[in-house]
């Protein structure tokens, strides 16, 4: 239902009301402010509460995709890795993982999804109504810098 999509897509998700769970959306907010005007047409920033199957449709026509989320199990402030389509399952959740979303794309379109990278930001506090933690905000700073380099074509997944 939309015109030609921007070649670069960044999806950040999380609950703004739950501390570090907001790091993904906050990262996109910072990217929106930091993007040079001449780069804005080439980038779509998509903030979501969680990933769901229809987001596979948002991946179509992209040159590269970056997923940004918090990660409670991360030892270092940020980590980035290339994603491959992969099945997973959940017990009672309504949400998909980014790798499962790529798999949905592959099934729907009968083709490989665009190259995708996951940028994980370390989170440690998730209480309702809490602000992000100091560690989360430090990870956010590092993540924004990494994402800007990725948008410029200079960052590589570790």
């Amino acid at each position: 239902m939309s015109a030609m999509p921007a070649p670069l897509l960044v999806i950040g998700w999380g609950n703004l009301a739950r501390g570090d769970d907001a790091l993904g959306p906050l990262c996109l907010e910072r990217l929106a402010a930091a993007l040079p005007p001449d780069r804005r047409a080439a980038v779509e920033l998509l903030v979501e509460h969680q990933l769901a199957p229809e987001h596979a449709l948002d991946l179509a026509g992209r040159a590269r995709v970056l997923f940004v989320d918090c990660d409670a199990a991360l030892a270092q402030p940020i980590a980035a890795r290339a994603l491959q389509p992969q099945r997973d399952a959940s017990a009672f959740s309504h949400a998909l993982s980014p790798a499962a979303l790529l798999q949905v794309y592959q099934q729907l379109h009968g083709a490989a999804p665009p190259p995708a990278t996951l940028l994980a930001l370390r989170g440690e506090r998730f209480g309702l109504g809490e602000p992000p933690s100091a560690a989360g905000l430090a990870a956010l700073d590092a993540g924004v810098a990494w994402a800007l380099a990725w948008l410029a074509g200079g960052a590589a997944a570790a």
Binding site: M1, W13, G14, N15, L16, A17, R18, D21, V47, E48, H49, Q50, A52, P53, E54, A56, L57, D69, C70, D71, A72, A73, Q86, R87, D88, A89, S90, A91, F92, S93, H94, A95, S97, A100, Q103, V104, Q107, L108, L118, A120, G123, F126, L128, G129
Partner: protein
């Protein structure tokens, strides 16, 4: 409490089985079973093991922020909270009676709501329930996932994604954004449907109605493929509570009066105003779960529980006011042989009847000129309190606020659909435990049956927050003295692996 299997007489002598999704998600659920030496189930409970506290999060906020803030309750049905809060706060801004919300604003809100119900039902049926239904409860865990459905039934998976996408587009067009929209405000809306969005939605509506009808046909075929299983799996006779349209009792999801039927279909109560919900419903607390147990006051805490959601609504209403969904409802009723259906799996068929109804309402309402022209808001004498009920995808949702002279919320009470269904879900767990567990060896397939019964209610236990790679099942068997005997882990790929019980 009253139900058999809710509390065993000597739990210390029994061995414990826990189905525990280890996540940090809001209000996540856990099932525990206590088995005696013969392997018979003596106690079965669905626990909610985290305190939500969302009401306190709202108290102290300016009332006009609330319709946006409450969307953070839920990642999958934020629109239901957005609209329930707006409806309650309509009363606070005096938008009632002679100053009622304008017809154009109501038309936009209704379109938003039916878009939300449609996309939520599509997500559940195509992406959560269909793997169990298409492949069976004992299929390999790796197959019980939407991705396996996509491989084996690509057209079904594609239609599911596109139906949900269409519902999301309805939400974007009416709420302004795909998530956390701001379209509905106390007293009305802040936008009407644009001509461009109207044309896009109108263009695809007939196709979506046809696909929705196809989903009903699929649900019916699955039911007919094993009618005894679908009728009796997790079967729990329960009263049914929902909104219906005033006067004629038609299915009504946005605004109506409360009706309750007995489990055998007799009317118990009809035409009750949502403004009197506190006279009708009370909530009990039990020490083993953070989720309350609502019940009908006139019947008391022990006997007054009920079911909400699609299975209740489709059988509680007098008819469905759109033609194809009404024909589908009549098929559903006929298949039950004139009796009320209470099997957990029949919920899926009822949910698809509602999906078709929601899509028919959307298609029909797109011809209403009020969506694109008219007043946005109304207001009248300021009030100190507002109450509203709406039928969210999972069932009746009640919002209640008191607002001080300083415009700050001083009291907030929310009864969400999954809470209404707390006792019914617990009873479904017990029904499955009695039916499948007694005296048998534990297998992953048996444990999945418990989850299938819970999933039929589409409970919203875990969608408010999330984390990367944190949703396994951890099942531990313990001896009567509490020693861990065995342990099974199911990881994020759906694979089961034995684990060291000492690590439990």
């Amino acid at each position: 409490m009253p139900s058999p299997l809710e509390t065993a007489e000597h739990p210390e002598r029994l061995r414990r089985v826990a189905i525990d999704p280890l996540s940090r998600v809001e209000g996540h659920g856990k099932v525990t079973l206590l088995l005696d030496d013969a392997g018979r189930v003596q106690q079965a409970r669905l626990h909610i093991v985290e305190f939500r506290g969302f009401e306190q999060f709202i108290v102290g906020r300016p009332y006009w922020e609330v319709p946006v803030m409450v969307q953070r309750l839920c990642g999958i049905c934020p629109v239901s909270h957005h609209l329930a809060a707006s409806k309650a706060l309509d009363r606070v801004v005096g938008a009632t009676g002679a100053h009622a919300v304008p017809a154009s604003a109501t038309a936009v809100r209704r379109l938003m709501h039916y878009g939300q119900v449609m996309q939520s039902h599509a997500l559940h049926f195509f992406h959560l329930a269909s793997p169990d239904l298409l492949f069976g409860f004992d299929s390999e865990p790796q197959r019980r996932h939407i991705l396996a459905v996509a491989e084996a039934h690509p057209e079904i998976a594609r239609q599911g994604v596109l139906l949900r996408k269409y519902g999301q587009e309805v939400i974007r067009a009416t709420a302004g954004k795909r998530i956390h929209g701001t379209g509905s405000v106390p007293g009305g809306v802040n936008r009407l449907l644009s001509d461009e969005d109207h044309a896009l939605l109108l263009r695809d509506a007939p196709q979506m109605v046809d696909w929705a009808a196809g989903a009903v046909a699929l649900a019916r075929r699955l039911h007919e493929s094993d009618a005894a299983l679908y009728r009796h799996f997790g079967e729990v006779p329960a009263r049914m509570l929902s909104l219906v349209r005033p006067g004629d009792g038609a299915l009504e999801l946005y605004d109506g009066v409360l009706r309750v039927r007995e489990a055998d279909g007799r009317l118990l109560l009809d035409g009750a105003s949502d403004q009197d919900y506190l006279d009708l419903i009370e909530e009990a607390v039990r020490p083993w779960s953070y989720m309350k147990f609502p019940y009908l006051r006139r019947l008391g805490a022990e006997d007054g529980w009920y079911r909400v959601g699609p299975l209740a609504r489709v059988q509680n209403c007098s008819f469905i006011p759109t033609p194809r969904a009404e024909a589908a409802r009549q098929d559903f009723v006929a298949a039950a042989g004139g009796r009320v259906a209470h099997g957990a799996l029949t919920t899926h068929w009822a949910r698809m009847v509602e999906l078709l109804h929601a899509m028919e309402v959307i298609a029909e309402s797109l011809h209403d000129p009020a969506l694109r022209a008219g007043e946005l808001t109304a207001s009248g004498p300021r009030q100190a309190e507002g109450i509203a009920a709406i039928e969210a995808p999972r069932g009746t949702l009640i919002h209640h606020y008191r607002v001080g002279d300083d415009d700050l919320v001083s009291h907030c009470n929310l009864i969400v659909s999954t809470t209404h269904n707390n006792q019914a879900m617990n009873e479904a767990v017990r029904a499955v435990a009695r039916q499948y567990f007694d005296g048998r060896a534990l297998t992953e397939g048996l444990l999945n049956r418990i989850e299938v019964a819970i999933r039929a209610y589409d409970p919203c236990l875990s969608c408010a927050t999330h984390a990367l790679g944190r949703m396994p099942l951890d099942v531990t068997l313990r001896a009567a003295d509490g020693r861990p005997l065995d342990r099974l882990l199911r990881d994020g790929d759906g694979l089961c692996q034995p684990a060291d019980p000492a690590g439990a």
